[in-house]
């Protein structure tokens, strides 16, 4: 032992020793020995074969020109990624994906919070209203999409029935790219607004009534109490709801596939639907893999950034 070592060690020992005895590795549980780790091996084995291996394989495939079915393929380096930079279909899909993600998130926060505030007061039929607004959350987006198709269809749609009855011309709701993108955002938001609503309702119910009573004694009106009491205390609910809606919107696939199939052309396509088009329709599995990796990175970065932003603000909240 050298002198330097001895000079450093006592401090390190003083820091680690009490932790060992207080918390220990087993938390004081005599059965939590190393052998207990065997219990997560089945889960890890499944993840290794069916998630991690495909992810690694996806990175490797993205460097090839594999067509999805033939035995051989060539290494093409970063050519697939270079293609993303010039591919107009990818640019449209990426733009739409951001609109789906951000648009749905905004719409669901506004509508979800408004519905939660409306339902957080004594009102006849409150339980029924909550149950109905929440119902679509449990229905498959494909089935909701199929039912909404009946509303927006050109020849037989319920919406055009109203337009015609009012003396207007039939509107091609789903063939007009701008309208179709907006409809997809609206349909996705309407389907999942129930999640935001119940998250905010649960958040509102954790706020002690005394806070509002005290503020009322001080003469604070409804909006003042909302802004100064409810809103800051809803920060955790806000964080949970935003992260959930944003991820859901960014990986949107089902509704688009049923309502427009990504068309006309690629005008309503998302990054997710572009992957399936590239793989199954265009026989470009290598390119589809590259888009898959980009989608993964997009969602990972968005989640981490939003989570970090909201978590930091959560700490600053009262």
């Amino acid at each position: 032992m050298s002198g330097v070592d001895e000079a450093v060690r006592p401090r390190a020992a003083a820091e680690t020793a009490p932790r060992r005895t207080l918390r220990g590795r087993t938390g004081g549980n005599p059965l939590a020995t190393r052998r207990v780790n065997l219990l997560y091996l089945p889960a890890l084995a499944l993840f290794a074969v069916f998630t991690v291996y495909p992810l690694v394989q996806g990175v490797l495939l993205s460097l090839t020109d594999w067509n999805g079915f033939s035995r051989d393929s060539d290494f093409v380096g970063l050519a697939n990624y270079a293609r993303l930079i010039t591919d107009a279909a990818f640019h449209t899909s990426l733009g739409n994906t951001l609109v789906y993600g951000v648009g749905s998130t905004l719409l669901q926060q506004v509508a979800g919070l408004a519905l939660a505030l409306a339902l957080d007061r004594p009102l006849r039929g409150r339980a029924l209203a909550r149950a109905i607004i929440y119902l679509p959350v449990l229905v498959s987006p494909v089935v909701m999409g199929a039912m909404y198709y009946l509303l927006f269809s050109y020849n037989y749609g319920g919406l055009n029935d109203v337009v015609v009855a009012l003396g207007g011309e039939r509107v091609a709701w789903l063939s007009d790219s701008g309208a179709a993108v907006a409809i997809i955002v609206a349909v996705n938001s309407a389907q999942f607004v129930g999640i935001s609503m119940v998250i905010y309702l649960a958040g509102l119910q954790t706020i002690p009534a005394e806070f509002h009573e005290a503020a009322m004694l001080d003469g604070a009106g409804y909006w003042r109490r909302f802004a100064d009491i409810s809103l800051p205390l809803l920060q955790p609910a806000f964080a949970a709801s935003v992260v959930l809606n944003l991820i859901g919107g960014l990986k949107l696939f089902d509704v688009i596939d049923v309502l427009t199939g990504g068309g006309p052309g690629y005008s309503t396509s998302s990054v997710s639907t572009l992957i399936s088009t590239a793989y199954f329709d265009n026989r470009s599995a290598g390119y589809a893999s590259a888009i898959g990796i980009v989608l993964f990175l997009l969602i990972a970065v968005a989640t981490l950034v939003v989570d970090a932003l909201l978590r930091r603000r959560r700490l600053g909240a009262p």
Binding site: T26, G27, G28, R34, V36, N37, A129, S140, A240
Partner: protein
């Protein structure tokens, strides 16, 4: 006083609008499903020329909706049981043995939650094709389990960390082995979190489309979501049968929701606030 009353009415009206908007697609599906293809009255009207039940017959016979519901039931039940069991087992060491290794393992599993299914579609599809897993129940179950299991492990771990260790210590002192302790002492305490995991998993698997539409192309094993989208696409402009198919597929969900409504909403909130 008057202003407060006005506000109350406005809120009630807003809620009525929201409820109507949410019910509109179901109502349109109902009117469409009850009309003959020849009846071209407004979608908003109930059938004017008699109820046409043929749509439901077509949905069941040509669309195979009942078989699809059966397939979804099989895949959902097996996947949900596997996700609960594997999740609870994996969570135990992660909650009770806090080593650096286990912190890394938990972090890695939680990171898997972020992987969108479509981003591993190409390699997963070719892997399952090589293993003979496409168009099989087990292939679909494996895909569902690996996509749902990370959240399950996370929820179980978080829940177990809040459980007192003392009971397990007492059991160990009494000579219980690891499996006895898990199945007799730990697992019975997990009912609340198991309800959450089971609801989140079964809803997600029952409704899953992004992977199953590619993994299950054979009508014999196809689940509900891909069956509905295929049927809708094949029906062209005769939407009555497609509407009937959609309604039939909603019926089991509606039934479960009516019976278990409180658990559904609670479970979803618990899952979201992770």
């Amino acid at each position: 006083m008057n202003r407060a009353r006005l506000g109350h009415v406005a809120i009630a009206l807003g809620l009525v609008v929201a409820v109507v908007v949410q019910l509109a697609p179901f109502y349109i599906a109902l009117t469409t499903s009850l009309k003959a293809p020849t009846e071209l009255t407004s979608q908003w009207l109930l059938p004017q020329q008699g109820v046409y039940w043929q749509n439901f017959r077509i949905a069941i016979e040509d669309g195979g909706i009942l078989r699809a519901i059966g397939n979804s039931a099989i895949v959902t039940v097996v996947s949900t049981v596997a996700v609960c069991l594997l999740g609870a087992l994996a969570a135990y060491p992660l909650a009770r043995r806090r080593s650096t290794l286990n912190r890394l393992v938990l972090g890695g599993i939680v990171a898997l939650i972020m992987i969108p299914p479509l981003s591993i579609l190409v390699p997963l599809y070719s892997l399952l094709t090589d293993l003979g897993g496409t168009n099989t129940y087990w292939g679909a179950v494996v895909a569902m389990v690996v996509t749902q299991l990370p959240l399950s492990v996370f929820l179980y771990t978080a829940f177990m960390r809040e459980l007192p260790v003392a009971i397990e210590e007492a059991a160990a002192v009494d000579g219980a082995n690891l499996l006895q302790m898990l199945f007799r002492i730990v697992f019975p305490m997990l009912k609340p979190v198991t309800a959450t995991v089971a609801i989140l998993t079964s809803v997600a698997v029952w409704n899953e489309y992004a992977l199953s539409v590619f993994l299950l192309r054979d009508p014999e094993v196809r689940t509900i979501a891909p069956t509905i989208s295929t049927f809708l696409a094949s029906q062209g402009n005769s939407l009555g049968a497609a509407a009937a198919a959609a309604l039939i597929s909603v019926a089991p969900v509606l039934l479960a929701y009516l019976v278990l409504q409180r658990y559904f909403i609670k479970g979803m909130v618990a899952g979201a606030e992770r």
